[in-house]
Symmetry: C2
Subunit: 641 residues, 2 copies
């Protein structure tokens, strides 16, 4: 019942190589960020009042500007680095420290700066980008409304063009349309990128983004602008979230961010993307960096928590045992291993998936073609990884908190703040449930691309064809994966560590779920109440998306192993990947049995196999979290002293 390959010991040198491999293409940015973050200014301080926390976060943000850590993503012409991957990586590193700084940085440079950069044109870039990158102009990203969280197309705020004065009149028509949870709004923002329905000559053209000044130089709200403070939150209290109302505020015509659509002086609306839905999604798509950044932040915070909890578990003792000297170290208990090791393994999987996503993002956005077909694929993948990474963070940090007992509940040990700060990630930058639906819809779209409208004959043929791999879009390391698949063993006797078999299981699950989903949803087309049909499938839809994300994670892990130059480090990754796969299959094993893929006699062994693997990896646990390279200051907590 044991996993075939024993786990090799892990020495300091291999930890170092492992870390270099994880650091990847933008490793130099990670190193700079690590050095910078060791400054006392960046030490996470628990228990600050909201005013103190906001002040400290602002000071940290301005210091990041001084150090040139915030401009990576802006064009070189405006003092930036012109390096999108570096920008996301630098942001990612902030996720290991105080997450208020991360979120405020994300609001200022990613969302507000990103809106100006990606939705604006030359005139906006010249006027604002240098000041934004340097922190001289702080701004907000005012999309979400009280009445409309995830449903951006239905926003209530309007920007009505007045050709007489060549201005837009920005209006909050009712309280449902007030801008809600807007970072930088309660205190520091001077200008807001406001998403509103563009109306010209009595016609609505859908949601567009406008720059609306909200505060004067002295920090007072401008006429027509009402601002309220969201008050204390579960976490992230260093960020000044607020609400915004616009009482017929007039802004110049040029304040429309007009990359994708323009309003002429006479009110004529012009756009190169005639289809309004496509235009809307093109505009939103440019904001994909935010979603990818949140995934990275979630993974980083998880690494900090795991570093704390694993180091603690490796030294803290509890209860004596017969035949043993002294008390037993926490991490020697099977159940403690069970809590931490699969969590570490999944964090590695997410790390590789996230790295692959950042690389693709960098390529796509550096190429700069809005019609690039890779964009849509990237959007779906970003949505899926974001949902998976943020739910994982919530679960993992909770596990770490409990694994540290009462000490884990004290703010001085960081786990409470890591938990509370990341909690919102599951519902912001896209609610995870909504994002998974987006993933599933994208899968159905490419499914249709492959099989046309799926008439009965086509469906039958398709279902009869059990060879997988001909539908699924491989996300990484295609040739390696195919080679592994070709060598895969059989379900009843494959070795537990047979990677080709692992891939075939993940493939099967996704494809089978997707087949079934497509069949069920086809019925919706002719049904009297299509919503009812959709709604009955909603859990099936989400299961399909989750299966897809699991496969993305596995493929990224396989690619990450394949590209690892150090054999000893590679060996560790192999075993972590085994644990990721087998604990995932263990959790989903009822489905595999019910769908005739795995015999119950075999799945019954899985808990024992996973236990075994946890035991084998246990001696390496601290090395495996050390390889995350979390800066010392982020894990310098009393519990570890």
């Amino acid at each position: 019942m044991t996993a075939a390959h024993p786990v090799a010991p892990l020495n300091e040198e291999t930890v170092h190589r492992l870390r270099q491999h994880l650091d990847g293409r933008w490793g130099h940015v990670r190193e700079s960020a690590r050095k910078l973050s060791e400054r006392e200014l960046f030490r996470p301080v628990p228990g600050l009042s909201i005013a103190e926390h906001r002040a400290r976060t602002l000071a940290q943000l301005l210091s990041l500007c001084d150090e040139g850590m915030t401009g990576y993503g802006f064009p070189e012409a405006y003092g930036g680095g012109g390096d999108i991957g570096a920008s996301i990586t630098a942001f990612d590193m902030l996720g290991m420290g105080d997450l208020s700084l991360l979120v405020k940085t994300g609001v200022q440079f990613g969302l507000f700066g990103g809106a100006v950069l990606h939705l604006g044109t030359e005139i906006h870039h010249q006027r604002y980008l240098a000041d934004i990158a340097a922190g001289r102009l702080l701004g907000c990203f005012a999309m979400t409304e009280h009445g409309h969280g995830s449903d951006v197309a239905c926003l209530g705020t309007t920007a009505t063009y007045d050709p007489v004065t060549e201005e837009f009149v920005v209006l909050t028509p009712d309280d449902e349309a007030r801008k809600e949870y807007i970072g930088n709004a309660a205190q520091d923002g001077r200008i807001a990128a406001v998403f509103a329905q563009l109306v010209s000559a009595g016609q609505s053209h859908g949601v567009h983004c406008f720059l609306v000044p909200i505060r004067d130089e002295g920090g007072q709200p401008l006429p027509g602008i009402r601002i309220a403070d969201c008050g204390p939150k579960a976490g992230l209290n260093g960020v000044d979230n607020g609400q915004l109302w616009f009482d017929a505020v007039r802004i110049p015509r040029q304040n429309l961010l007009n990359r994708y659509a323009q309003v002429d002086a006479d009110g004529t609306y012009r756009t190169e993307i005639e289809n309004s839905t496509k235009r809307f999604f093109t505009m939103l798509g440019t904001l994909i960096q935010g979603r990818i950044s949140v995934a990275g932040a979630a993974i980083s915070a998880t690494k900090s928590a795991l570093t704390i909890a694993t180091r603690y578990a490796d030294t803290r003792t509890q209860f004596s045992a017969p035949g043993r000297d002294g008390e037993v170290v926490l991490l020697d208990y099977l159940v403690h291993q069970r809590k931490l090791l699969p969590t570490i393994a999944k964090s590695y999987a997410l790390h590789f998936a996230q790295s692959a996503l950042v690389e693709t993002l960098h390529e796509v956005f550096t190429a700069g073609d809005p019609d690039d077909p890779r964009r849509r694929e990237l959007e779906a993948r970003a949505a899926g990884v974001k949902a998976s990474a943020t739910w994982h963070a919530t679960a993992a940090i909770q596990i770490c908190r409990e694994a540290c007992g009462g000490a884990g509940y004290l703010s001085e040990n960081r786990l409470p703040d890591l938990k509370a700060d990341t909690d919102v990630f599951t519902t912001f930058e896209g609610d995870n449930t909504v994002l998974l639906q987006l993933v599933a819809k994208e899968l159905l779209t490419s499914y249709r691309d492959h099989f046309g409208e799926l008439d009965v004959l086509g469906t039958v043929k398709f279902v009869a064809n059990q060879a997988v791999g001909n539908v699924l879009e491989r996300t990484a390391a295609r040739s390696v994966i195919q080679r592994l698949l070709d060598a895969a063993g059989r379900d009843d006797d494959a070795e537990w560590t047979d990677r080709g078999w692992h891939i075939s299981l993940f493939d099967f699950r996704e494809k089978h779920l997707l087949d079934g989903l497509a069949r069920r949803l086809r019925k919706a087309a002719g049904a009297p109440d299509p919503f009812a049909v959709f709604n009955q499938c909603q859990d099936h839809l989400l299961a399909t998306a989750r299966a897809h994300v699991d496969r993305i994670l596995l493929e990224a892990f396989v690619a990450g192993i394949d590209s690892c130059p150090d054999p000893a480090a590679k060996e560790q990754l192999e075993r972590l990947c085994d644990l990721f796969v087998l604990s995932t299959v263990e959790a989903e094993r009822a489905w595999f049995i019910e769908h005739g893929r795995l015999p119950a006699a075999r799945t019954k062994m899985l808990p024992g196999v996973v236990n075994d693997l946890c035991g084998q990896l246990r001696p390496n646990a601290v090395g495996l979290v050390n390889a995350f390279g979390v800066p010392d200051i982020a894990v310098d907590v009393p519990l570890l002293r």
Copy 2:
């Protein structure tokens, strides 16, 4: 595939009857608590500074004393109510409001007061109880040490008897032995019930409890007492947790709480319980009320969170749908139903299990016989329900937070505090993992009582005997359960709502796990490294305990249905119980298939059956949470206005 019985609509009158039934035997106490809690002083206020929060919590606590809500559990001779069940019920109700008040109340009256009451004798009762009940004497319960959380037998603090002065000398020998996370210690406590190793005439007699004054009337630490503040915590910041060190502090001989052991003036140690392990557990056992109270508090906080999230989901809309007018109400989405309704159902199950526990506690402690065999059973059951209720609270409140999106992250909407405050419940008053082990060990003990030492023949016979019910100790409604079991359908065609079949599934799971566990652990006796054998079974041990707790919950639910006098209310409970059972079996279905109990063809239908039941219960969701009877002030949040 649908559940056989449709769900009847739920009107106001039935909600009222349901609530009366849930309120149960101490309904009058719940009603008093509800009235009292509507006072502005008891409104939960988010975002207070630690100093403000502590001051408000103390004021609330003293007001509870004035209102006579804190004395229910003390003897009438000392101004109390002599009603243990009422005492736990009153405490329970505090769990719906600000949990800092709950915990400070628990520390003062349950733990500190409980130690004096249960471990002390006449002299201590006369001297302290009236002052404790009235809030004139605030105290601490100083058990946990830095180096020893759950392992109380190994505490490092010593109390060494000095016959010359007839005093105990209380000493913290090293920093591992400092008292940690002690409520009331950082600010308000005047005296501490300190658990320490009693040493007399050079001999150690194990852990005992001593009253040690720690502060003078002016609030200054007494000589030899060092106190530090634990600082900010994830939640419960209205409670002043601290650390305590004792530098050879002298206390009179009479300050030993001497109900179970006495030290004479000359240093002679006397006890009626010769076995030191038994004595230790007898002393700890009297503190069982704390554990039961925490379970109640966790359930109450869950009810508050579910009330907020369900009412919100019933009005909040998101996205429009083809063929529907306007946007869809959140709770109309299948996945939203899936989040909230099984959570509501399990909360009902826990409510009934907790009520049964409180009744038993009341009977056992009112009878007052420390040798009552029901005590040990009660301890195990309390441990199991505490673990289940607190993990459920953590998961449920997280679900509620996410179900409310960004609004759920704002402190004004209470969910952040409910979550952060209850988080510690999973690891205090006994770490849940440790508690489940205690449950499993107790099951193994009664197993051995039934089957002797389980020789090979006995084991084989036992395993061959697939008739269940002859080993499991029924916890409630024995005759009803037997009647249902006798009428149970077969696994391949029982109706989904067949209660007897439900019970037989839960029975089977527990018994099968327990059988296997006993077989595996028998090997430990002769093994060269018994810890290794134990450790390999640790997950099996916890699975057994969880299966046991699930059965306790089901039996309590069945008893709660059986005793419900109102047919319409009863009908609602039946369907909730179906949902509790079927969602539990759904989650555990891999195990049922693998162990040959359920065919995969049948379990495959379970997700659809659970979906269906959620849809049927959806129109009643708000009524079902209203029946919890959470005071208006505890759920009066902006998100619902």
